[in-house]
């Protein structure tokens, strides 16, 4: 029996040691040198040049081209995240940014009502785990996830769980990228004859998820405390694919009750004739480059109007 106990102890000691060594090498020589595609590290490294930041899901990543948003002065960066980017993610990312001394003047926050009825999963926060040490808020949040998650976080490589191949691929590509503003321009066109739109998900909550509303309120507070001008943007989807009017109106009402920040509401695609055709879309939820350009022009006009209205003398 003693031999068995020694074996278990030895295996875990070696695993712990290997974890620390691999994590050190990976972090120092690969992760910290990764400055490519849609990466938070890239955002953290470019701190001096960023005047406005776009945050949200893949719909922000594919639709908000910072280069076309001339109504906001300065240089922008699109930090939209595929498979993540919901309000909880954004709230924690802002915490990371602020702790890394990055405070943009303006934040464009992409929201969808559907994002508030989906249950929170750990998966959407895992892209932020590498920055665990930078965010007390993230540390506090993971403490609430229970003992298994806390145990896994004892291993430093777990912070890169499921991300290693992507990070290595970014590391290789970074050498070819001189400048990057985070926007992903897609050339694909949505073929509606072969690909149908997705139905509204069935496994969603009737009420808004409390954790997401708390995260939204936290974003309001973070922006206020750090003097960041916040714009909330609701982009459309093809054929109003994920637009459910009652949820959308309920969310608007909630936001207005909690914040006075401007809302640019473009959620209902029926109001934008030239965005309705499939040639503007990559798939039912994401615009291609053609659609993104039109959308950004609309958005820029709205931002311009807002700027003009705030500059008017009373």
């Amino acid at each position: 029996m003693n031999k068995i106990i020694i074996k278990i102890a030895a295996v875990f000691a070696i695993v712990f040691l290997c974890d620390r060594v691999i994590a050190f090498i990976f972090e120092k020589y690969i992760f910290e040198k990764t400055i490519a595609k849609g990466n938070v590290t890239y955002l953290l490294k470019r701190k001096t040049n960023i005047d406005f930041i776009i945050m949200g899901t893949s719909r922000a990543e594919f639709q908000f081209n910072p280069g076309l948003l001339t109504a906001i002065n300065g240089e922008g960066y699109n930090a939209g995240a595929s498979g993540a980017g919901n309000v909880l993610y954004v709230s924690l990312l802002i915490d990371i940014m602020i702790n890394a001394k990055i405070v943009p003047k303006t934040l464009l926050l992409q929201l969808d009502a559907i994002g508030f009825v989906k249950e929170v999963t750990n998966k959407e926060l895992i892209p932020l785990y590498p920055f665990y040490d930078l965010s007390p808020k993230l540390q506090l949040y993971t403490r609430g996830l229970g003992l298994p998650e806390r145990f896994k976080l004892l291993f430093k490589m777990y912070r890169f769980n499921g991300q290693v191949p992507g990070i290595i691929s970014n590391f290789v590509r970074a050498k070819q990228t001189a400048y990057y503003n985070g926007f992903v321009a897609s050339p694909d066109v949505f073929d509606t004859t072969k690909r149908r739109t997705l139905p509204y998900p069935e496994n969603v909550s009737e009420n808004f998820i409390e954790a997401r509303l708390t995260a939204l309120n936290s974003i309001f507070e973070q922006c206020q405390e750090n003097h960041i001008k916040l714009f909330i943007v609701f982009p459309p989807t093809y054929n109003n694919n994920v637009y459910r009017q009652q949820d959308h109106l309920r969310l608007l009402q909630y936001i207005r009750s909690k914040s006075t920040e401007p809302i640019i509401d473009m959620a209902d695609v029926r109001k934008f004739k030239d965005l309705q055709s499939n040639i503007n879309w990559k798939d039912a939820n994401h615009m291609n480059n053609i659609g993104a350009t039109k959308f950004c022009n609309y958005l820029n006009d709205s931002l311009m109007q807002y700027r003009a209205s705030t500059m008017k003398p009373n």
Binding site: M1, K3, I4, K7, I8, A10, V11, I14, V15, C18, D19, I22, S82, G83, T121, N122, K123, E149, K152, F155, M157, Y158, F160, N161, G162, Q163, V164, P165, G166, I168, S169, D188, D191, K194, R195, R196, T197, L198, D283, A284
Partner: protein
């Protein structure tokens, strides 16, 4: 997953009835008495199985046929029902056939049916293997057993959490929204499902065998690298071995096997596989899945496909590829939730040739799938195709090798494991 105390009582009741039936079979000297108690044992287990697993399927088809509408019941399937039912059945039949003696100790028999590592998803253990081990009083946990079992458990964990659960992200992405994806994407999804189900199920078996081994029990092997088979017939000798050998011994041979001419052999193969499909659940998709496998087996029988390992590597590779394609095709019916979904997916695969957006599910996922698959194939090809865990342990530095392998597997689980993966596929059976 729910805990329903009444289900434990049902399990105990079926154990008691089978325990009693087996003793009665042994005690009766006349054939009639033996048969009567065999029937009690079989009916007892089959009724429980029918009620929990097939009642709603039967009602759905009854109502669909236009008879008086019967009410659908919301029944939760007791976990691992199909597995311990087959285990109990084989025990009663073996006692009837006189191959084993009836177990007199109720505790030992209950332990045989409910042994925890394999209770929920097999391997379906045979009484002649497990009962003698359970009866040994001076049972000791040895270092060698622990070492082998520990590595085996971690290998299973790696297959499940790293390979199966990573592949499942792409599979779910394509299958859950199949109308949204091109044929080539669905084709990749189907191939990945073949990998997923193998790693999910064989991973569970490895963990069960490993856990039992750490406690000093030796379970039978359930998988033998099946996708390296050279025919579907060989595949079924290497896939879910405990079920396929069960079906061979108690169904195929009982139907007459290959003794009564070619046509009867094909019929017996089809019948066996149809029942095997139906065993998985009350759904026509499973029946079709079984029928397709039966068809391939019959076809190979008709063409007298050799089971010998070809010496030419091109022939070897081509035949393994045929097995993978044929089996993957049958998995479409297994994975699809409805018959029409399966047909739509097949239609799309054969008609929609747009290039797959393989990165659509996320760069990390597809890169992770490729990397973890490379790790799996390398390990199976270079190590486990030739050596078992016991063999590896027996080498001069075998223990060190297994310790190193264990460390490597844990690190892989930490880095690549999908921590939010779904439960085991075979838990639903």
């Amino acid at each position: 997953m729910w805990f329903i105390p009444q289900y434990v009582l049902i399990l105990f009741l079926t154990i008691l009835i089978d325990y009693y039936a087996a003793i009665q079979i042994e005690q009766h000297t006349d054939k009639k008495g033996k048969k009567k108690h065999l029937l009690i044992g079989i009916l007892n287990t089959c009724l429980v199985l029918f009620f929990f697993k097939y009642y709603n399927f039967f009602i759905d088809n009854w109502n669909w046929a236009g008879f008086r509408q019967l009410k659908h019941w919301d029944i939760i399937l007791p976990i691992g029902l199909s597995f311990h039912v087959f285990q109990s059945l084989s025990y009663v039949i073996e006692v009837y056939r006189g191959n084993i003696k009836a177990e007199k100790n109720l505790l030992v028999y209950s332990n045989f049916v409910m042994m925890f590592p394999q209770l929920v998803a097999g391997p379906i253990e045979r009484a002649n293997n497990l009962l003698p081990q359970l009866k040994t009083c001076n049972h000791k946990i040895t270092y060698a057993d622990f070492s082998v079992g520990f590595s085996r458990f971690l290998w299973g964990l790696f297959k499940k959490v790293v390979v199966a659960d990573t592949a499942s992200v792409y599979v779910d992405w394509t299958y859950n929204n199949y109308l949204h994806h091109s044929g080539s994407q669905l084709l990749i999804g189907t191939a990945l499902f073949a990998i997923q189900i193998y790693c999910d199920f064989s991973g569970y078996s490895d963990m069960a065998i490993g856990t039992a081994r750490m406690l000093g029990f030796k379970f039978k092997e359930n998988f033998a690298i099946p996708y390296f088979s050279k025919s579907v017939t060989e595949f079924w000798r290497r896939w879910h071995i405990s079920l396929s050998s069960w079906m061979r011994d108690y169904l195929y041979i009982s139907f007459g096997g290959s003794r009564k001419g070619k046509i009867n052999t094909y019929r017996n193969l089809m019948l066996t596989m149809l029942i095997g499909g139906f065993w998985h659940g009350g759904s026509w998709n499973f029946v079709i899945w079984g029928a397709l496998n039966g068809f391939f087996l019959s076809l190979e029988k008709a063409f007298s496909v050799s089971l010998k390992n070809p010496s030419n590597w091109i022939v070897k590779f081509t035949r393994s590829l045929y097995v993978f394609i044929a089996i993957s095709f049958t998995w479409i019916f297994f994975r699809a939730t409805t018959f029409s979904q399966a047909i739509d997916i097949i239609k799309k695969i054969f008609t929609d040739f747009r290039i797959a957006a393989i990165w659509g599910s996320g760069t990390n996922i597809f890169s992770s799938i490729i990397l973890t698959l490379a790790l799996l194939i390398s390990a199976e090809l270079l190590i486990f195709r030739k050596y078992s865990f016991d063999k590896l342990y027996s080498f001069r530095y075998g223990d060190y090798f297994l310790t190193g392998l264990s460390v490597f597997l844990i690190i892989c689980v930490i880095i690549f494991g999908n921590s939010e993966g779904a439960q085991f596929i075979y838990f639903q059976f």
